[in-house]
């Protein structure tokens, strides 16, 4: 089928021009929740990027003579059983956390969006098949499914990413399918098809932009979920493996020393909480702005 070059018919999708985006960005930056979340996320990214400069010690090197020291001016967050500086490990841990969160959400969004677009656009048996398979994944509590997949793939950072992506891809698929179904029935999409635009072109050029709002909201919320799931997997020994300083792994290592060296567990947990809070604030704020129906929330 020939590609459409000249917009002979008015097939313009709802405005997604530069002006529209600028307006959205302005509204976003006026929302206190978004600003608070954004400041925290930027802080986290800076810490991760400059970990080498901020952390006073090697996060992995053992120094048994300094084992289990309480917080002090030498060791801000104390040391663990192997004499490793908890502060340095928390600082370097931000890299692992961001890596896991961003890659797992990117993979789930990619897979989920593809499934949702195809499912909603073609409907019929394709939609049915994808829907049934997704139903199977929705039949497990999220954490249990992640534990199952991670156990199957074997412990490790990359496998934890895959496990999280498996859990959240169907969620993205479902979030995207709804708006695609709505858009597909609209006149401008029909017009684009009538003048011979190919299915991939219609999907990507006309339908996809309308999915961006729910997609952004879901992605931000999933970032915080992904961090919590990774922490849980690592705590169960299925995520990042020692000696690498994932926050969840630190909590896993420190659990036997809760009473003798509580700092080993307190600080990584606080780091997880603040990071998840940052993404939750951001997600809430973005939803307020992009989804006016839920503005009351």
């Amino acid at each position: 089928m020939a590609e459409v070059t000249a917009p002979a018919v008015a097939v313009a999708a709802p405005a997604h021009g530069r002006a529209e985006w600028r307006k959205t960005a302005r509204t976003l930056t006026r929302n206190p929740l978004v600003v608070a979340g954004l400041v925290m996320v930027v802080g986290l990214v800076v810490v991760a990027a400059l970990a080498g400069l901020i952390a006073p010690y090697d996060p992995i090197a053992n120094n048994v003579r300094a084992a289990l020291q309480p917080p002090s001016s030498y060791y801000y967050f104390g040391t663990d059983r192997f004499g490793r500086d908890v502060f340095s490990r928390v600082v370097y841990g931000s890299r692992l956390t961001l890596f896991v969160a961003i890659t797992s959400v990117a993979i789930s969004a990619l897979v989920g969006v593809a499934l949702g677009l195809v499912s909603g656009y073609f409907r019929g048996w394709v939609d049915n098949l994808i829907g049934r398979v997704m139903d199977i994944f929705f039949s497990f509590p999220a954490l249990l499914l992640a534990i199952g997949v991670a156990a199957m793939l074997g412990p490790g950072l990359n496998n934890a990413v895959i496990a999280i992506a498996v859990v959240y891809s169907p969620v993205f698929g479902r979030v995207v399918r709804g708006p695609v179904l709505v858009e597909r029935g609209k006149e401008y999409v029909e017009a684009a098809r009538v003048i011979g635009a190919s299915a991939p072109r219609v999907i990507l050029k006309h339908v996809f932009p309308n999915v961006l709002s729910p997609l952004t909201i879901q992605a931000t919320i999933t970032l915080s979920q992904a961090i919590l799931v990774e922490a849980s997997l690592s705590y169960l020994g299925l995520g990042t493996q020692p000696p690498f300083p994932s926050w969840g792994t630190m909590l896993y290592e420190g659990r036997e020393f809760l009473e003798t060296a509580p700092w080993w567990s307190i600080f990584p947990g606080l780091a997880i909480m603040l990071t998840v809070l940052a993404f939750n604030l951001l997600g809430d704020g973005i939803r307020d702005v992009l989804d006016p129906r839920s503005r009351a929330a």
């Binding site: 398979v133 509590p141 199952g148 997949v149 922490a231 849980s232 567990s265 909480m273």
Partner: protein, 321 residues
């Protein structure tokens, strides 16, 4: 007409569970077999030296030498007759093992749910009535914090605080709620608080937002205009209509409770179904893993079904296709 449509929808929804359930059995069956190592490796351990023929005999004993489809067929055959099989490690029927542990998980889940409703609904209502006051802000921030804590860390911090200030440590032996209700409650209250925190925050947020939406409707304005006391406006007119999304969020949280129970039971060393799953996985006790996970998935599917049907029943605007 409405009832007939509702009945058709319910029937369709229930029938759609059949292929999903079959898919779930296949997924569970394959997933546990893809985990490296088998029950034979776990039994032998790393120390002992066992020759190949003994290993082969052990594999044959557990039926692991059969092709996968035969193993699946055997399991499904039992499953369709309500037989979950026997645990490879304890030799006990899987259904009996689940049943013995079920009380703990159900008690934990119900207590967590009760706590979350007792906290979430009043706070959410208060937050909505006093929208944009300092009280509202504090409640919202606390709820966001509650959603941001990993369950096991919250549990660890609670145990730490309790042991420092009250010399409380998680008891090793489980106290039966029937034989010793006081000791049982003392044992279950903290795990339930931990498990209920996230649900309470979700219920609070949903109560607040749906109540706010309802409070903006014309009929609420009319109720106010005719001079009805604010308390009655909220209780009689608004709250009833705000309930649908709240019920939905509670239903959705059942899944969280089931998944969260796995971690909570592990941290507080409670002998529930959640811990049974983790133990079974680490021992590669295939029948036990399959049975427990199928059981949890079935509960989850059932709660999703109930939410969907309830939602369709309460809100006739929902489309039935």
């Amino acid at each position: 007409m409405y009832h007939r449509r509702m009945r058709t929808y319910a029937l369709k929804r229930i029938l759609s569970l059949v292929p999903t359930w079959i898919g779930v059995t296949i997924l569970v069956f394959l997933m546990i077999r893809m985990i490296p190592g088998t029950v034979v490796d776990q039994l032998i351990g790393t120390e002992a030296r066992v020759d190949e023929s003994t290993k082969a005999a052990m594999r044959a004993f557990f039926g692991l030498d059969q092709p996968l489809y035969v193993q699946y067929g055997t399991w499904m055959g039992g499953l369709l007759q309500g037989d979950l099989g026997q645990s490879w490690r304890s030799g006990l029927p899987v259904s009996k093992m689940i049943f013995d542990r079920l009380a703990v998980t159900v008690e934990l889940g119900l207590l967590a749910l009760v706590i979350s409703l007792l906290v979430g609904i009043p706070l959410g209502t208060l937050s909505a009535i006093r929208e944009n006051t300092p009280l509202d802000h504090v409640v919202r921030i606390v709820s966001l914090f509650s959603l941001s804590m990993p369950t096991f860390w919250q549990a660890a911090m609670l145990i730490l605080g309790l042991s420092l200030w009250f010399n409380w440590v998680p008891p090793v032996d489980f106290a039966s709620p029937i034989r010793d209700p006081a000791a049982n409650l003392k044992q279950m209250i903290f795990p339930s608080i931990v498990l209920g925190t996230v649900v309470a925050a979700q219920v609070m947020r949903m109560t607040r937002s749906s109540l706010l939406e309802v409070l903006r409707h014309d009929y609420v304005r009319t109720a106010r205009a005719k001079g009805l006391a604010e308390r009655l406006v909220v209780r009689r007119h608004a709250f009833k209509n705000a309930l649908i999304p709240i019920i939905t969020v509670i239903g959705v949280q059942v899944g969280y409770l089931l998944g969260g129970a796995v971690v909570t039971e592990q941290v507080f060393t409670l002998p529930g179904v959640g811990r049974l799953v983790l133990d079974a996985v680490s021992q590669r006790d295939y029948p036990l893993v399959q049975g427990t996970i199928m059981f949890i998935a079935a509960l989850f599917m059932l709660s999703n079904l109930v939410v969907d049907l309830l939602y369709a029943y309460l809100d006739p605007r929902i489309r039935y296709d």
